[in-house]
């Protein structure tokens, strides 16, 4: 109980810290813990954080029934609050495409200065994003990309292929070091039909190939704890000896780890995905099969809000030579292990 409360307090502190970092630390606030400086980019040199023209930023994202998405919404809001010149207008989060379209339409009608949209499905929200752009509202497309480049001003998101590559390299290297030949490598995906899942799997397979390894079996769970548990239970039955496992998503990973513990298996190394606080604590403990997780950080929402502000104010990014914000920004997927988990802890999100 007390531990849980502490955890929550810690998380809030972590998010606040992340937001501060994202805000660039140029304010007079006492800076966040210095140890975390490496986790976030160095503050911009120019005066981008000085209050400028007042801008209204609309924000729409899926319902926060998943730790990562929840962190997206929290990060966006926390960052917006850091700026006195941002009027933040979030709309009710929803998993219903139909509702998200009307929510975005209402933001267009309110003539916001910029929109940050994490669409439930890029294909299906493309049309309304196009409308926004045509109405002269720059759209910052967060994570799930709109197929039509006319539909957005700037895209920022994670690197799904890169996640797979990072996980593949970690596993490949571990197994090579141990001198394992012909390893049994198991993969638990998220929702198999999503392009992001296919990208993750492709990156994983490609990276493993450079070590001469391949995936023995893969199954999809559905990003929930329960499905992760079910799929892992059966996969552990299917393979009496496993050398390595990659689970695409730390939220479903809670269920996967429960299944592994129940089965009493510890002969393999497991890698997670996204970088949740739970996963980081497992890694930190050193006693878990979970040895690493590859990031797909929800801090991208903080960055998206900052970008929206810059675009709306007609500024550029001061670390770049360009006069305006770039068209697309892909975040790198980093590998969190016991060695570096300390500096990622405060960016972790709660499942």
């Amino acid at each position: 109980m007390s531990e849980n409360v502490a955890r929550r307090g810690f998380l809030v502190g972590g998010l606040g810290g992340a937001a501060l970092l994202a805000a660039g630390c140029t304010s007079n606030e006492p800076a966040a813990a210095p140890s975390s400086a490496a986790a976030a980019p160095a503050p911009a040199a120019s005066g981008n954080d000085q209050p400028g023209t007042k801008v209204t930023i609309g924000f729409s994202a899926p319902a926060a029934d998943h730790g990562w998405i929840a962190a997206i919404a929290k990060n966006a809001e926390a960052t917006a609050k850091q700026y006195s010149d941002i009027d933040f207008k979030p709309v009710e989060p929803t998993n219903d495409i139909n509702q998200q379209i009307s929510a975005v339409e209402s933001l267009i009608a309110q003539k916001v200065n910029a929109l940050v949209i994490l669409p439930n499905d890029g294909q299906q929200l493309n049309q309304v994003a196009l409308q926004a752009t045509e109405a002269g509202i720059p759209v910052i497309n967060l994570d799930r990309v709109f197929p039509d480049k006319l539909a957005y001003r700037t895209w920022i998101g994670g690197d799904n292929y890169g996640m797979g590559v990072a996980a593949g390299h970690f596993i490949g290297k571990q197994l090579k070091d141990k001198g394992v030949s012909n390893p049994v490598i198991v993969e638990i995906q998220g929702i198999a039909t999503l392009p992001l899942t296919q990208d993750r799997s492709k990156g994983f397979a490609d990276a493993l190939k450079t070590y001469g390894f391949s995936v023995t079996a893969k199954q999809d769970a559905k990003f929930t704890v329960e499905t992760g548990n079910q799929v892992a239970t059966s996969l552990l039955q299917a393979h009496k000896k496993i050398d390595a496992m990659w689970n695409h998503d730390d939220d479903q990973g809670v269920g996967v780890l429960a299944a592994i513990k129940e089965a009493g298996r510890d002969e393999f190394v497991m890698v997670g995905g996204a970088g949740s606080l739970n996963a980081m604590k497992e890694i930190q403990s050193g006693t878990s099969v979970l040895k690493a997780t590859v990031t797909y950080s929800p801090t991208m929402a903080s960055s998206a809000i900052r970008l929206a502000r810059l675009v709306a104010q007609g500024k550029g990014m001061s670390d770049l030579v360009e006069n305006s914000v770039p068209q697309s920004i892909t975040l790198a997927s980093e590998t969190i292990t016991k060695d570096n988990v300390e500096k990622y802890l405060e960016l972790g999100f709660e499942s």
């Binding site: 109980m1 531990e3 849980n4 409360v5 319902a63 926060a64 029934d65 998943h66 730790g67 929840a70 198999a192 039909t193 079996a217 893969k218 199954q219 999809d220 559905k222 929930t224 704890v225 329960e226 992760g228 548990n229 079910q230 799929v231 239970t233 059966s234 996969l235 552990l236 039955q237 299917a238 393979h239 009496k240 939220d251 809670v254 269920g255 429960a258 299944a259 513990k261 129940e262 089965a263 739970n278 709660e350 499942s351």
Partner: protein
């Protein structure tokens, strides 16, 4: 059913006799289907399928939804339907894993889950029996509302079972004779369900109310009260299932039990229970459920795509219902 008692003299007897014969026939079909799946398992994965640990894992997978299926069987035999089972289970799991509840220990959590499940069932049952709402509507409303309430309570977060309450998780990790405790709970619920349905007045009344409510009323059964209790029973099963899912996943979450209503109803139908009520068996439902679980297991053991698994399940539902209809036609006067 040896001696006819007052309450089912009017409605029960007439419906029961042919049902039992039909039931046996259908069970035979289900057993054949199960046997075929077992053979497929033995042939495709000889080294993995027939191991104790795989069988235990199949039963563990089946346990949660199996407990819910027992409750659903009662409701459907009683002529109703409960669409809210998955959502009520999620709500019960979330309620039990809230911080406040967790600080009182695992027993309080378990009792809380059961009370919340039963309470939700009572509300649906009251709306149907005394509020005269159609079961489909009342439980649909409960599905939506319970899911929403679960999301509110948990703030849509996954709530971990705290280490202090590890006893709850141990239902899943502690094994007796190599079988996890939660499988025993599942078996106990099935056995109790069978006894209540086949050996008690409550069971006989359930068949009577589902078969012909008017006749049941004339025979002196308080049909409304009985209907309400059926939904409470279903809710109770959801509460027990919530305990099992907390044990298995170490969490309470508003996403638990998604589409369980469909799985439970499908298992009951495959098991030979008529959606119109009045006929059906617990054993049939459990066999139906095991067929589903076995298919999932076989697909994962063989590394097949889960989309094809849905197609296979759909086909099985259709075939099962077609077979039922043929049986009924043959027996129609």
């Amino acid at each position: 059913m040896s001696e006819p008692t007052t309450d089912h003299r009017a409605a029960g007897v007439a419906a029961l006799a042919p049902t039992r014969r039909l039931g046996e026939m259908r069970h035979l079909g289900l057993l054949v289907a199960l046997a075929i799946l077992v053979v497929v398992g033995l042939v495709t994965r000889p080294e993995n399928f027939a191991t104790t640990s795989n069988l235990v894992s199949i039963l563990s997978l089946a346990a949660t939804i199996g407990v819910i299926t027992v409750g659903a069987t009662f409701v459907i035999i009683g002529g109703g339907i409960d669409l809210s089972v998955g959502a009520v289970m999620a709500l019960a799991s979330v309620w039990a894993t809230t911080l406040a509840t967790q600080s009182y220990g695992p027993w309080v959590m378990a009792i809380c889950a059961i009370l919340v499940g039963t309470g939700a069932g009572l509300v649906s049952g009251w709306l149907i029996a005394y509020g005269r709402l159609v079961p489909f509507i009342a439980t649909l409303a409960m599905l939506v509302a319970a899911r929403g309430l679960a999301q509110r309570m948990s703030d849509r977060r996954t709530q971990l079972v705290q280490p202090d309450n590890a006893a709850l998780v141990e239902l899943s990790t502690t094994r007796v004779l190599g079988v996890p405790l939660l499988v025993y709970i599942f078996a106990l619920v099935v056995a109790l369900g069978w006894v209540v349905l086949n050996r008690t007045t409550f069971g006989r009344r359930t068949y009577a109310v589902g078969g012909n409510p008017e006749a049941a009323r004339l025979a002196g059964i308080d049909v409304r009260r009985h209907t309400m209790l059926l939904y409470a029973l279903s809710g109770l099963c959801c509460g027990i299932a919530a305990i099992l899912i907390m044990a298995r996943t170490t969490t309470g979450s508003s996403t638990h039990g998604d589409l369980y209503e469909l799985d439970a109803i499908a298992a009951v139908i495959i098991g030979g229970t008529l959606l119109t009520g009045g006929r059906g068996t617990i054993i049939g439902s459990i066999l139906g459920l095991l067929i589903f679980t076995l298919i999932t297991n076989l697909f994962i053991l063989n590394g097949l795509d889960t989309s094809d698994q849905l197609i296979a399940k759909g086909l099985i539902i259709v075939v099962a219902v077609l077979l039922q209809r043929r049986n009924l036609k043959e027996r129609a006067p």
